[in-house]
């Protein structure tokens, strides 16, 4: 009984060592595949600032920004055999009023792009799952994934600031980010510089824009009396 326990211990120790080395090799293989993510278009199509409440019961009135944007990007090169999913998100960023080094950031839209190997984990409806499997055609990498084409896309999450003030904010920019999640290894985000075979995201920033002022009520009254 004593020696079988020792054997079990030795086998388990060997298993963990091998698993550890294999995991290291797999995560290192990620650096060998090139990444060339590009953005063709990232621009706002509609801007509006309104006053509203966070929910029906809150008494605090806050300013919300409504942004619609167009995005055309190609993130398909981020997918390798080791990719589990790519989390792509568009943020609205603007410098803090007091300190230019600090940037306010808020996600306005995001999406989860699964790789064919993780489609079954994606909480998709049966018809969508079937369609995804068909487009992948049994391969580990599906070249159609990662191509983002959004026209006049509205916000997914309300855009506001803890101070409640957002109107007339200057130097606001939209930025595309991505987070690649591997099956084994290190998570990576969009980088500022090129690292070897991984190129930085080109054109990931939109032009700077200013959030408009809140529409004054008198104008709305004028419109109705005219009709």
């Amino acid at each position: 009984m004593y020696s079988s326990l020792v054997r079990l211990q030795n086998t388990f120790g060997f298993f963990t060592t091998v698993a550890f080395v294999v995991a290291l090799l797999i995560s290192a293989s990620d650096f060998l595949s090139p990444r060339t993510p590009t953005v063709n278009v990232l621009k706002t199509t509609q801007l509006q600032t309104v006053k509203g409440r966070a929910d029906y019961y809150s008494s605090k009135k806050e300013e919300y920004a409504i942004i619609k944007f167009t995005l055309d990007a190609d993130l398909s090169s981020l997918f390798t055999w080791n990719t589990k999913q790519v989390f792509a998100y568009v943020t609205a960023e603007w410098p803090s009023a007091q300190n230019n080094n600090a940037t306010n950031q808020a996600v306005i839209w995001d999406t989860i792009i699964t790789a064919p190997s993780s489609d079954h984990l994606g909480n998709f409806s049966p018809s969508k799952l079937k369609r995804l499997r068909k487009s992948a055609n049994g391969k580990g990498i599906d070249p159609s994934r990662g191509k983002l084409q959004l026209k006049n896309q509205r916000l997914k999450y309300p855009l506001t600031h803890p101070t409640g003030r957002l109107a007339n904010t200057e130097d606001v920019q939209l930025k595309l980010h991505y987070n690649v999640q591997p099956w084994v290894g290190f998570l990576s985000w969009n980088q500022a510089q090129d690292w070897g075979k991984w190129k930085a995201l080109k054109n990931g920033l939109s032009k700077k824009f200013t959030l408009p002022a809140i529409k004054v009520k008198e104008q709305a009254k004028k419109k109705t009396t005219r009709a």
Binding site: F87, N99, A102, N104, V107, I112
Partner: protein, 173 residues
């Protein structure tokens, strides 16, 4: 002196050696990663499909020269009202009039963000760097089931053998 050479003491010392080696390895990992939680096991599916129950997440603290939290990071959030820290994604970083960094998070698989979902200590609307113990940098799938099994063998077996409903998107945390 011969007492120290007795098989009982040798066995005991052998066990102590293994235990202290594990303890040293764990503390060494804490030092290297700069956080009291260098590895975390995922228990809920609030971050599905990225992190599923049974996955191990390797955590690291940002380097001293740049401790700012950025949108898209995956912080380990400590809440003294809860038994375990939880990991969600940062969806907002704001600086108010006092230069305070205010962070908002949300699980990928959750409808509501954590502020509305009352996940923060004391019902706060945002969290600050103080509530964050580190950020997820590495991922190892499935090995965490060993830890979950060791914590609660019977419930783990129930969970693995049941249909997928329990692991579906209705589990909130």
């Amino acid at each position: 002196m011969s007492f120290l050479r007795s098989p009982l003491v040798q066995h005991l010392l052998g066990i102590l050696q293994v235990v202290s080696a594990c303890f040293m390895a764990w503390k060494g990992a804490c030092l290297l990663s700069g956080t009291p939680y260098p590895a975390v096991v995922v228990i809920t599916n609030s971050m599905a499909p990225a992190f599923d129950p049974g996955d191990i997440l390797l955590v690291h603290r940002h380097p001293a020269h740049d401790r700012r939290v950025r949108v898209g990071d995956l912080p380990v959030i400590l809440n003294p009202d809860r038994p375990f820290p939880f990991i969600h994604r940062v969806i907002g970083v704001f600086y108010d009039d006092n230069q305070e960094e205010m962070v908002l998070t949300k699980g990928d698989n959750n409808e509501l963000n954590d502020s509305v979902g009352m996940m923060y200590p004391g019902g706060q609307e945002y969290i600050s760097r103080r509530e964050i113990a580190g950020f997820v940098r590495g991922y190892v799938p499935l090995l965490g089931w060993v830890v979950i099994f060791l914590q609660d063998p019977i419930r783990t077996m129930e969970r693995l053998l049941s249909s997928d409903d329990e692991l579906g998107p209705n589990n909130f945390i």
